[in-house]
Structures are given as C-alpha cells and as structure tokens.
C-alpha cells in the first residue's frame, strides 16, 4: 500500500548539503502497524513529511494506495492529505480557538460533507476516544493526553487509509503515553494501517514491524 522506491531528499542549509533521505526504499502493506525508529537528525521527519504528502521528494518513486503521489501537484496532495492520511503530531497541533468538536469536524468541512453526516461522524469519533463529554472544551482546557485523543479523533474521523503518528507520546508522561498506545493498538486491531515515527525504542517495539532510519538510510530492524 505504501511503496517507497529510491526516495531521496536533499536540503541546503547555509551552503551545506544535507542528505535527509538517501535512496530510501520500503514497502508497507495494508493493515500493518509499523514503527520507524531513529535518533534525531536521522531523517525521520523528512520521511514522515514525504509519506504524509506535506513535502515532495527530490527523486524516487512514492505510491500510496497505488496512486503515484510523487507526481501530484499541490492541490492534489492537499486532497490526498485530507482523505487518505490521518496525522497525529507530537505537539497535538489542535487549533486553540476551536473546541474539541470543531477541531474534529474541520477535516470533514474541507471534504464538503453535509452537516448531518459531519455531526454523526464527529460524535462517533469523539465517542471512540471517550471524549464526547469534553466536546465543548477548547484545547487549553484539556490535559495533554486528552488533547492527543482529540487529535486522534480528528485523524480517524475521515476514515483515512493511513494513520501517520509523529512521536505521539513524546509530550506525555508514560502512563498517558500507554493510554494513547492502547488506542493505536485498537485501531490496528480494526484493520487500520499505522505508521509510528519515534526515537523511543520502548514505544517502537510495540509495533509488529520496525524500520530503522539512520543518516537518511532505511533498513529493516528485527
């Protein structure tokens, strides 16, 4: 379902060439729970940005659900992000002015889904992360774990093909982190594809399959 073939990305920082991704190739099947592990500066974020269609590779091939997204233009990538990818970030990235409900509803608004269905699906998603009773709260009124659960609800409300989580437990204490990981296991159990990016080995080993990344090079671990 995710096919990377010789994907490279080079950044130029202050005249110096940084090879963030160096001919990375991998294959992730539908329904897999994969963790991508590597120290900071290893190219994890670049990999995640390209996988999440937030950025485009300099060279190589990237297919998502069989679609050649490496050849897509900006508006097409936007649509792919909206429909196929559910992001979960380390710092939650909720919009502070909006309530939990509005944050979760937002991707559906961009999909131009009818009001009734939006309401049904938003309620469903919040129920799924056990936060329906906090729907009218703003992010600032929620704990870190609750905010991350709202972010997960926002990701799953569109029924994406791929959940892309970037250090989802990085800003949480270990107990709340476990809670979040439990949700990921549940989502995996329901047949969802999950890619989890982390530098934390304890988190990484919870995934069925681990891919290591080091200096922009990708290799299968264990």
């Amino acid at each position: 379902m995710i096919v990377f073939k010789e994907v490279s990305k080079v950044y130029h920082i202050g005249g110096e060439e940084v090879r963030a991704l160096d001919r990375a190739s991998m294959h992730i099947r539908k329904g897999e729970f994969v963790s991508i592990v590597g120290p900071s500066g290893s190219g994890k974020s670049t990999l995640m940005n390209i996988m999440g269609c937030l950025d485009v590779a300099d060279s190589g091939e990237y297919r998502l659900d069989g679609q050649p997204v490496d050849r897509y233009r900006e508006w097409e990538l936007t649509a792919v992000r909206n429909r196929k990818i559910g992001f979960i970030f380390q710092n939650f990235n909720l919009i502070p002015k909006l309530t939990a409900w509005e944050n979760v509803e937002l991707p559906l608004i961009y999909q131009k889904i009818s009001r009734e269905e939006r309401q049904r699906r938003t309620a469903e998603a919040l129920e799924r992360v056990e936060l329906l009773n906090r729907a009218r709260h703003r992010p600032a009124q929620l704990s870190g774990g609750q905010q991350q659960r709202v972010a997960i609800a926002r990701a799953l409300v569109t029924k994406p093909s791929l959940f892309l989580a970037d250090e989802p437990t990085g800003n949480l204490d270990s107990r709340t982190g476990e809670e979040i990981m439990r949700i990921f296991h549940e989502l995996h159990g329901q047949g969802n594809t999950i890619v989890l990016i982390t530098h934390d080995r304890d988190i990484a080993v919870q995934a069925a399959r681990q891919i290591g990344i080091h200096d922009g090079k990708v290799k299968e671990v264990g």
Binding site: L54, A79, N82, F87, K97, P107
Partner: protein, 393 residues
C-alpha cells in the same frame, strides 16, 4: 464553506475585541466622515432647492438699473400683459415700515404689488382673500398679512377685518397667508410682512416712486417661459436704447442649475476627502491582517495538513478582512445616522442619511476589504505546510 468561513471570521474578530475595534475605527471614522458630510451637503441642497422652487421655478426677476429718462410705469406692465398674455407679471416695491395695532408697535416688511403676485410667488391665503386688481386701481388701503404678523402684532391668527397702521396710515386686513413650513423659515423665524396694493405703497413712503424698478414674470411651463423671457428682453432693449446693461433678467432655473453644479462639486470634494480616510482605514486592516497571518502561521499549517487548500485559506482570511470592514461600515452608518439626528434636532433642519451615499460607503468598504485583504490572504494561502507547522509563535 463560505458559511463556515464567516463563522470562523466572526470568531477570530471576537477573540481579539480590542484589536478588531481599533482596526474598525479607521473604517468607522472614514464612513462617518463620508456619510455625514455628503448627507449634510445634499440635505442643505434639498432644502435650498425647495426654497427656490417655492419661489417658483418658472420665474424671471427683472430689475431696471438705468431708466434712460423713460421710467417704467405700472401701466406699461399692464399693456404688455394685454398684448400677449402668455405670462403673469407683477411689480414689487419693498420698504420697511412701522406697524401698529392698538398699543403694539413693531417693524414690518411692506411689499407693494399687484394681484398676480400671489400666483407668481405661489402664496396661499388661508383666511380672507388676496389683493384684487380693483384694490390697485382704486388705491384701496387693504393689506394681506402673513401669520407672523397676525400672531405677533395683532395677537391672533384669524384677524381679517382688523385694522393696522403702517407708517401712520390705516390699512384693513383682508387676508392672512398660510403659515410657511419651509426649513429656512423654521430656522430663521418668519419676518412680519404685509402685502398692500402697489399704488397704496407709494403713499406709505416717500422713498418709493411710481417708477417700477423690479418686477416678476412667471408662466406655466418652461417653454412659454423661454418665450416670455425673449419677449421681455426685446421690449426692454427697445425701451432702453438697446443698452443691455440698463436692466438684468434673472432666470430662476439658471440659478437652480448653477446651484446644482456647485453643490455637486462640493459633495464630490467632501466625499473624496472622506474616501481618503476610508483608504487609510483600509491600510489599517491590511496591517492587522498581516499580523494576524503571521500569528496564525501554525494554525494555517494545521489546516493545510488536514486538507485545506489554498482557496479555502485565502477565502478565510479574505472574509475576515471583509467582516472587519463591513462591521466597521455598518457601525459607521449607524453612528452617522445618530450624528445627523442630533444635528437635525439642534439645527432645526431635517437631515437624513443619504441612501445613495450609504450604499456607496458599503460598496467602498467592501472594495477596501477585498483590496487590502487580498495580499495578506494570499500570503497565508501560499505558506508551505511543513514550514508553517514548524513555526513557533
């Protein structure tokens, strides 16, 4: 999508009340300046125009300044009218006299004229009658007075049959004019005026000779007016040795035209100045929108990450700019309405918000919202999602 954007825009405007208000202030001041100034000019114009129209729009005022030894007499006017009865003519001599009723005494404007004058000047008699041609011929000591004189000198409105004295001569009041309801009269107060036969006026004061120096000509429509004007000019030229400078003929519609163009220019000038302040308000909006775009870089990144396209982001910020300018505009119009109401109450003249200028203000504010919102909105829309997400604000 637009509905959602409007909701978001309102939310964002309300979440920064002080900032939004200060930004709106520029637009509010601009709109108030525009609406109040233009409404005042157009209100004053309307009331002056009404005043002139009341005098009769088809009116010629003829003044003779140099009679070349051939003074015009009342008889001459009558002969002209009989020769070609297309128009009404009436002479006018004005003087100030001391009016007395019982022990009351006051200064009174006396107008000596003839029967057609009422029709020419559109004077309406509410009680009694107007001057008749026989009054002029027989030099009757009768007077038609206005309401101000009736109420202030005689003491009551229905004073037909009472006698007043003007410079010591007794006149019987035969008619009372209808009350004037023009804005000008309301503002300045009506002067006490008595209309008496032209021939009688000659005897009230020595200053008035039997020579007619001022007279009015009126006709039913503009077409016959032009004919009358041409005719009276020809007659006067013939009488005063083809000397154009011996007399002047003032056409009321020419005055109206001149007045119209003056006030139109004035409106345009004031409106232009006010529009500049609106423009400055627009720059304020652009400024604050740019700040807002920078502050919300991260929000823009999040929205883009979860699927908002350029158009959606652009629309959101554009609608926000429009919301600020439109709310400012509406507050400005309401405020103008209040200010004009106060001016009307204090000044005694009725000023309302001019509908055209209110619409123009709305259109202008919309234009400014779009014009000055476009650049910040485009800046927001163009942000790359990864950089925007990385932004720490």
């Amino acid at each position: 999508m637009v509905g959602q954007s409007v909701k978001m825009a309102l939310k964002s405007v309300l979440s920064n009340k002080m900032r939004s208000f200060l930004t709106m202030l520029g637009i509010i001041i601009g709109v108030v300046a525009l609406v109040v100034l233009v409404s005042l000019v157009s209100g004053a114009t309307t009331s002056v125009t009404d005043e002139i129209n009341n005098l009769g729009s088809n009116l010629l005022t003829v003044s003779v300044s140099d009679n070349k030894g051939k003074p015009m007499k009342l008889e001459d006017l009558r002969v002209w009218m009989e020769e070609d009865p297309i128009a009404l003519t009436a002479p006018l001599s004005q003087l100030e006299a001391t009016g007395k009723y019982g022990t009351e005494s006051d200064s009174v404007q006396v107008h000596g004229t003839t029967a057609p004058y009422a029709q020419i000047q559109k004077l309406e008699v509410s009680r009694g009658r107007w001057l008749k041609t026989t009054d002029v011929d027989q030099v009757n000591y009768v007077a038609v007075v206005n309401t101000a004189l009736a109420e202030e000198l005689v003491g009551y409105k229905d004073c037909v049959g009472e006698s007043i004295s003007l410079n010591g001569m007794r006149f019987t009041i035969v008619g009372v004019l209808e009350e004037e309801d023009s804005a000008m009269a309301a503002m300045m107060g009506e002067q006490m005026t008595a209309y008496i036969p032209y021939t009688a006026a000659l005897r009230v004061s020595d200053q008035i000779s039997s020579e007619v120096t001022t007279f009015y000509i009126a006709s039913e429509d503009e077409k016959s007016m032009d004919r009358a004007e041409a005719r009276v000019k020809a007659l006067l030229m013939e009488r005063f040795d083809e000397d154009e400078d011996a007399f002047t003929v003032i056409n009321q519609s020419e005055i109206m035209d001149a007045l119209g163009s003056v006030t139109a220019t004035l409106s345009l000038l004031l409106g232009g100045i006010a529009a500049i302040s609106l423009l400055v308000g627009g720059i304020g909006i652009m400024n604050i929108m740019l700040v807002s775009v920078t502050e919300r870089t991260r929000e823009i990144g999040i929205r883009k990450a979860i699927g908002a396209g350029r158009g959606v982001i652009m629309l959101q910020f554009l609608i926000e700019a429009l919301t600020i300018s439109l709310i400012g505009c509406l507050i400005g119009i309401l405020l103008s309405w209040g200010i004009l109401a106060v001016i009307s109450a204090v000044g005694g003249m009725a000023f309302g918000v001019n509908g055209t200028v209110a619409l123009a203000a709305i259109a202008f504010s919309l234009g400014i919202g779009v014009l000055f919102g476009l650049y910040p909105a485009n800046k927001a829309a163009k942000k790359a999602p990864i950089e925007a997400l990385r932004y720490d604000g």
